[in-house]
Amino acid sequence: MEYEKVKPSRRKFLKSAALIAGTAIGFKSLNSSRYLLFAAEPNDKNLPWYGIVIDIEKCIGCGKCAKSCKIENDVPQEPFFFRTWVEQYTVKNDGSVNIMSPNGGIDGFEQQVPDGEIFKSFFVPKMCNHCSKSPCSQVCPVGATFESPEGVVLIDEKYCIGCRYCVQACPYGCRFIHPVKKVANKCTFCYHRLKKNLDPVCMEVCPTGARMYGNLKDRNSKIVKFLKEHTTQVLRPHLNTGSKLYYNALHSEVK
């Protein structure tokens, strides 16, 4: 009697073993096609994870960043295409705010409000926030814009179909359609310079050191030290974009 019972249990064992093996193989193959379901994650420990700090107190509105960015990256010279630009905010004594950015600040600024009426005034350089949960790359229907393993939001110009969804999706207004190439264009964190061990061009030419970048994973890096010592803020934190552009001394008037 006992001898006969062994056979069905062996069959059961083989069946369940095959089921477990099959499930494991199935999950394994699912994992390899994970990229079809999820966005990039900062899992690669060997690569840096870049962040930017802009110190508003140091910016003097010289516009060298906007000018050099246009030259370095072949951005059209017309005054409505910018990868980075500078805004001048002037808060008057009566509380009204005057915001201007003539040609992105490339030609310099002139204070139009008389000194007696000014309560406070400051410059705000703007550029791509290189969000870690970027709205622009989430809406791209073809996978032409993405977050690189270093946390840099890039555009594959050969793959972009120019549908403009990303231009609409960016809450910071950092994208535009290139008038000649007819594809989306934006700040690349000077990815081509980073890979050649050069600083991004806006940070290279900034005369006061108002712009800073570095590896957020490295606890000893300059940027992590700065973030530790200062009270910084990102733009539009309520949108939960995972922005990696931190402003020091940001005023509440900045939009």
């Binding site: 096609s33 990229y35 079809l36 966005a39 990039a40 107190e57 140091k58 910016c59 003097i60 509105g61 010289c62 516009g63 060298k64 050099s68 030259i71 370095e72 001048q88 905010y89 002037t90 310099g108 600024f109 002139e110 204070q111 409000v113 000194d115 000014i118 005034s121 400051f122 410059f123 996978g143 032409a144 814009t145 993405f146 977050e147 690189s148 393993p149 890039l154 594959d156 110009e157 050969k158 793959y159 690349t188 990815y191 081509h192 310079r193 890979k195 050649k196 050069l198 600083d199 061009v201 290279e204 030419v205 900034c206 005369p207 006061t208 050191g209």
Partner: protein, 154 residues
């Protein structure tokens, strides 16, 4: 018991198999090879973007020939400023210094980009002058050496 498959179901399954295999073949031929290498994008595009040409050489490239100017600069308040901030993109000049020369901005306006008076500039951040009042008829470089601004010329 013998399992009976009706002939129309056989034909239909054949049509399905053909349709699915055609779909897979078309999909395979349309998706670039490197797509999905790192994420939902073409992995080869990272290399393509990284290969774009550089136009600003970076301050280290300037030091190869112009160490003397940098030594001057280090002694005064402009020490932290990159050469290309004022002189413009220098990659071509660093490759071929004899034929391609960089600009020398000498106008009052080019100095004024940083040093003109504006309430938006913090007083600690930069030394400011009112260009409409400060030695109007002279160029800045007649008194100041841009590499050593406080070493006044006589």
């Amino acid at each position: 018991m013998k399992f009976f498959i009706p002939p129309q179901l056989k034909r239909l399954s054949l049509a399905f198999a053909l349709f699915i295999s055609a779909f897979l073949i078309i999909r395979y031929s349309l998706i670039p090879k490197s797509f999905g290498q790192y994420g939902f994008y073409r992995g080869a595009s990272l290399g393509e973007i990284a290969q774009l040409p550089v136009k600003y050489a970076g301050h280290k490239a300037c030091l190869v020939c112009h160490q003397d100017i940098d030594d001057l600069k280090q002694q005064d308040v402009h020490s932290e400023i990159s050469c290309e901030t004022c002189h413009g993109p220098g990659q071509k000049h660093s490759e071929n210094g004899d034929t391609t020369l960089l600009e020398k901005p000498i106008s009052r306006e080019s100095c004024g980009m940083c040093h003109s008076k504006n309430a938006a500039k913090q007083k600690e951040a930069v030394f400011q002058v009112d260009l409409k009042e400060h030695n109007v008829k002279k160029k800045c470089i007649e008194c100041h050496n841009p590499h050593q601004p406080w070493n006044m010329k006589k």
